[in-house]
């Protein structure tokens, strides 16, 4: 029997994986992917919470509505984010975070 805890565990795992990716990887594209993974982790736990917190025998649909908002906003974020990364690539011919350090004092 799969319980709420299983879902939360997987979601926590996804979140940690994403966070580790953001901190350790050096390519902007991969970092951006990891960030999306963190949002997916939130989505997974939202759906799980909504499924297991029944209201009058039905799932709590408030949480599922929030999932759609998160997906939509994440898409908007990717659209803007990738455009910025492309612009940076045009100017610097690199997407590695090691190369964007021109403002260290």
């Amino acid at each position: 029997m799969v319980t709420l805890n299983h879902y939360l565990f997987v979601s926590g795992l996804l979140f940690t994986l994403g966070l580790t990716g953001v901190m350790l990887r050096r390519s902007l594209i991969v970092i951006f992917m990891s960030l999306e993974m963190m949002l997916s982790a939130a989505n997974l736990s939202l759906v799980a919470f909504s499924r297991f917190n029944l209201v009058n025998g039905l799932p709590n649909y408030n949480g599922q509505a929030l999932v759609f908002f998160i997906i939509t906003v994440a898409a908007a974020e990717v659209a803007v984010g990738l455009a910025i990364i492309v612009a940076l690539f045009r100017a610097r011919q690199t997407t590695s975070v090691d190369d964007i350090t021109s403002m260290k004092y």
Binding site: V22, A48, N62, A76, G81, I84, A87, L88, A91, M103
Partner: protein, 491 residues
């Protein structure tokens, strides 16, 4: 007129300007900003005539849209900020022109977006002031953040601006990840998305929030991390100096005022019930620890900066520390003083003095071409008016009496004293002392040092009026802070 018409009006104004941008001549793009300013002033006037839900009005919108003193105050706050930012952008056209690229030689090309994008940010900020449901908070916050991504990276031929854009993008998205994850757990524990219903459950002994205090603390810490990024608090302040330095100056100003206010209004709305109920006393400790570290680091790091913009970045970090201190006192402050009023007063003064400093910086950057403190040498000879308003802004930031900055800090110290947080108070006093040094360093450069050449600075009439108004706000709040405090007295 229901209050949500205001946001609709700002969005419509933004779309109209977008269309206008397609039709006006390239050399006359400044018209877009001027119409924007006039439109926003109209919306600001309309702010005084809005109403909340009438008795018995159960329209769904009122369950996620609040109309209270907080909402109205921060809506006006967002509008004033945006108006000043548009005025600043007008003074920044030369720099925009320079970095919009060699193949678009026609004057004014690509400037239109810079003048209407802030309106969408403003709409987001206004929504956020009213948001009282997890969903609307999230969407409003993202509307603000995503439009900021575009604005920060706007100078696409300038590597600094692009780098700042990428850094803001990655860390902003990271903070969103934390914030959403925290909200998820809050929803999971309460089964509600409306903040007032979540708060109501705190009183219920059997609610999951009281049964699992550790899970609740986890959720709140995640929310706090997300907000700490937005308001630039230690240890999540690393993006601030680079992003502030790289972004176009009007955007930096917008970021430092708008983003901070948004973070605190949302932070207060979400966290206040939990601070009051005190089911998780660690939350207050956490807020206070972050506040102390922020005040200390912000002020000490600011002392060694030679770049004025970077210095203000660290100064904005230290102000976030003072505001967090006020937030941490929300439960323990004496009953005569409303902590929300204290935060509003602090932010109101902060708005005026920060925007003023950045506005002068825009003009100096545009006409003298530098952001180092050395560029400000002899500013009093180049333009006595600019030097005077910057002097007011600096002494107010430092917190000298008869300026808004003084009363802001005074009330924060007062609530901290009532709560007996003596260690943090000691740190804050140290921070204020350090502040005197680096703010007055700029004043010394302006008045005591000789200018390198005899160039004069020109100030347009609209900018002059805007700056004079902000100076007025600083001086009036410096002797008579009651209006803002009494606004929150009843709530």
């Amino acid at each position: 007129m229901p209050a949500y018409y205001l946001e609709a009006a700002v969005v419509v104004l933004g779309i109209v300007l977008m269309l206008m941008d397609a039709f006006v001549e390239k050399a006359e793009k400044s018209l877009v900003a001027k119409v924007g300013v006039l439109g926003l002033i109209g919306v600001f006037v309309a702010l005084f005539f809005v109403r909340g839900p009438e008795a018995g009005d159960a329209a769904p919108i009122w369950s996620f849209y609040a109309v209270d003193p907080t909402a109205l105050f921060y809506k006006g706050f967002a509008l004033i900020t945006t108006i000043v930012v548009l005025l600043m952008s007008l003074d920044y056209r030369g720099v925009l022109q320079h970095f919009m690229g060699p193949e678009q030689e026609k004057a004014g090309a690509g400037q239109g977006e810079f003048f209407y994008l802030p309106l969408f940010t403003c709409a987001g900020l206004m929504w956020m002031a009213s948001a009282k449901d997890i969903v609307s908070i999230f969407v409003a916050l993202e509307l603000v953040t995503i439009s900021f991504y575009v604005l920060v990276a706007f100078l696409r031929r300038n590597v600094g601006s692009l780098e700042a854009g990428v850094k803001y993008l990655i860390l902003g998205a990271l903070s969103t990840g934390f914030f959403v994850y925290g909200l998820t757990w809050l929803f999971g524990l309460s089964g509600e998305t409306e903040l007032s219903k979540i708060a109501a459950q705190l009183a219920n002994e059997d609610s999951a929030m009281n049964l699992y205090p550790k899970a609740l603390l986890f959720a709140l810490s995640m929310v706090l991390v997300g907000l700490a990024f937005k308001v630039a608090a230690v240890p999540f302040q690393i993006w601030v100096p680079d992003v502030y330095q790289g972004a176009p100056t009007p955007v930096t100003a917008f970021l430092s005022v708008g983003s901070k206010a948004a973070g605190f209004v949302v932070g207060y709305r979400i966290l206040q019930p939990f601070i009051d109920a005190n089911t998780t006393p660690q939350l207050i400790t956490l807020i206070l620890a972050v506040s102390g570290a922020t005040i200390l680091l912000g002020n000490l790091a600011a002392m060694q900066q030679d770049n004025f913009k970077r210095m203000l970045a660290y100064s904005s970090i230290s102000h976030a520390g003072f505001l967090l201190l006020a937030l941490g006192c929300a439960r323990t402050a004496g009953s005569q003083i409303n902590v929300q009023g204290v935060m509003a007063l602090y932010l109101g003064g902060y708005l005026a003095m920060t925007l003023l400093a950045f506005h002068v910086m825009c003009l100096v950057r545009d006409q003298l071409g530098g952001e180092e403190i050395a560029t400000y040498k002899g500013l009093a000879q180049r333009s006595p008016f600019l030097a005077f308003v910057l002097l007011i802004a600096m002494i107010s930031l430092a917190g000298i009496p008869f300026t808004a900055g003084f009363f802001g800090k005074f009330y924060v110290f007062l609530v901290a004293l009532q709560s007996r947080y003596y260690v943090i108070i000691a740190l804050a006093v140290l921070g204020v002392g350090a502040g005197f040094y680096y703010y007055l360093k700029v004043v010394r450069a302006m008045y005591w040092d000789e200018a390198a050449d005899d160039r004069r600075l020109a100030v347009g009439p609209m900018s002059k009026a805007g700056m004079a108004l902000l100076t007025g706000i600083i001086l009036v709040l410096g002797v008579y802070p009651t209006p803002i405090l009494s606004l929150f007295a009843s709530s």
